[in-house]
C-alpha cells in the first residue's frame, strides 16, 4: 500500500504515469478466442485488406477499454475506484503499433472520505495519432481519513 495515491496528491493539469501497450497478432488472436469474436477483420488479412479496405487486420476496438482500465487501475492502487470510462473510436489500433496510453486530470472534487477525479485520456500510436480518445471518473481515498 506504500504506493497508494491519495486525493491530496493530485491536481488539475497533472498527468498520470504512461502505460505502453504493444499491439500484435498473438494478443489479438487470444482476445478473439477468449471472447468468441469471429469478425474476420480481426484475423483474416486478405479479407480485411481486399474486401474491407483496411490497412491490416485490426485490433478489436474494445481492447482500448482494457488498456485504459489497466492504465487507471495501475495508478489508483488498491483503494482507488474506477467509476466511469468513456471512449470514442477514431482510428484503428493495428498490429505493430506501440501505443502510449495516458491521462491528464481535468477536475477534482473533495467528497468527504474520498475525492472524485476526472481525467481526459488518450491512446496514441508511434506516429502520434490518437486512436481512441476518452475520459474517466475515478475515486481516490483521502489521506486525511487514513
Amino acid at each position: 500500500m506504500s504506493d497508494q495515491v491519495f486525493f491530496e496528491d493530485v491536481a488539475v493539469g497533472q498527468e498520470i504515469p504512461l502505460l505502453t501497450k504493444s499491439v500484435n497478432t498473438v494478443n489479438i488472436n487470444m482476445y478473439c478466442a477468449v471472447v468468441w469474436l469471429m469478425d474476420r477483420i480481426h484475423f483474416d488479412y486478405p479479407f480485411s485488406v481486399e474486401r474491407r479496405g483496411l490497412p491490416n487486420i485490426v485490433a478489436p476496438g474494445n481492447m482500448a477499454c482494457d488498456y485504459y482500465t489497466q492504465l487507471l487501475n495501475d495508478w489508483i492502487g488498491d483503494q482507488g475506484v474506477l467509476k466511469k470510462l468513456t471512449v470514442q473510436y477514431r482510428n484503428f489500433m493495428l498490429p505493430g503499433n506501440t501505443l502510449s496510453c495516458g491521462g491528464r486530470i481535468t477536475a477534482v472534487e473533495a467528497n468527504g472520505v474520498t475525492g472524485t477525479v476526472d481525467l481526459e485520456l488518450w491512446i496514441k500510436n508511434e506516429d502520434g495519432v490518437t486512436c481512441v480518445p476518452g475520459t474517466a471518473r475515478i475515486e481516490l481515498p483521502a489521506r486525511a481519513n487514513q
Binding site: 482476445y31 468468441w36 482494457d66 482500465t69 489497466q70 471512449v87 473510436y89
Partner: protein
C-alpha cells in the same frame, strides 16, 4: 432538405425497443486468466486466488472490462454454415430493426459506468434498450447513430455495469 436515411429505413419507431435479456454461464478462473493474458495485464490478482483475496476486489474477479464478454455474444455461437461471410451472425449493440444489415455497422463510442466487478462463478444477465437514433450528413455520406443502454447484473440482482453504446450505421461501400 436532404432525404432522411433513417426515415427510409423505417427505424425511428424502434427507439425505446428492448433487447431480449441474456444470461451467461458461470465465469471461470480460466476465463479470467486467459482474458488477462489476452490484454497483457499481468496483475497477480487475475492469476492467483490468494493474491486476489488480498487485492482490491477481495476475491478472484475479471479485469473490469470483461463485463460484457461475461454474458457471451448473443447469437454469435452458431455453426459456421450459419455465419455471414464476414464471420458474424449479429453485432452486439445492433437492435432487431428491419434490414439492419443492409447498412454497414461500426462501434462509435461507449460509456461504461462501473458499480461492481464480475467475480469467478458469477452468472451475469444483460438487459438493454434503444434510447436514441439520429442522423448526420457529413463529407463521407450519411451516418446513423444508434445509442443503446445496457445494464449488467449478477445472479443476486446487483447492478455491475451501466453501459451506453453508440453504433454507427452507414451505407455499405462493397
Amino acid at each position: 432538405m436532404e432525404a432522411s436515411l433513417l426515415d427510409e429505413m423505417g427505424w425511428v419507431p424502434y427507439i425505446g425497443s428492448k433487447y431480449a435479456p441474456h444470461t451467461g454461464e458461470p465465469v471461470t478462473a480460466r476465463d479470467i486468466r486467459r482474458y488477462a493474458l489476452a490484454i497483457d495485464d499481468i496483475n497477480p490478482i487475475f492469476f492467483d486466488r490468494e493474491a486476489a483475496k488480498k487485492g482490491k476486489y477481495g476475491g478472484l474477479a475479471a479485469p473490469l472490462n470483461y463485463f460484457s464478454w461475461s454474458v457471451g455474444v448473443p447469437g454469435a455461437e452458431k455453426p459456421t454454415s450459419e455465419l455471414g461471410e464476414d464471420g458474424l451472425s449479429s453485432f452486439v449493440g445492433v437492435p432487431e430493426i428491419p434490414n439492419a444489415f443492409d447498412l454497414g455497422w461500426m462501434r462509435g463510442g461507449e460509456e461504461i459506468e462501473h458499480f461492481k466487478p464480475v467475480y469467478e462463478g458469477d452468472c451475469v444477465t444483460v438487459t438493454g434498450e434503444v434510447v436514441d437514433m439520429k442522423e448526420k450528413h457529413g463529407k463521407s455520406g450519411t451516418l446513423i447513430f444508434v445509442t443503446s443502454v445496457f445494464e449488467y447484473r449478477n445472479q443476486d440482482g446487483d447492478l455491475l455495469v451501466k453501459h451506453t453504446v453508440t453504433m454507427i450505421a452507414t451505407p455499405r461501400k462493397d
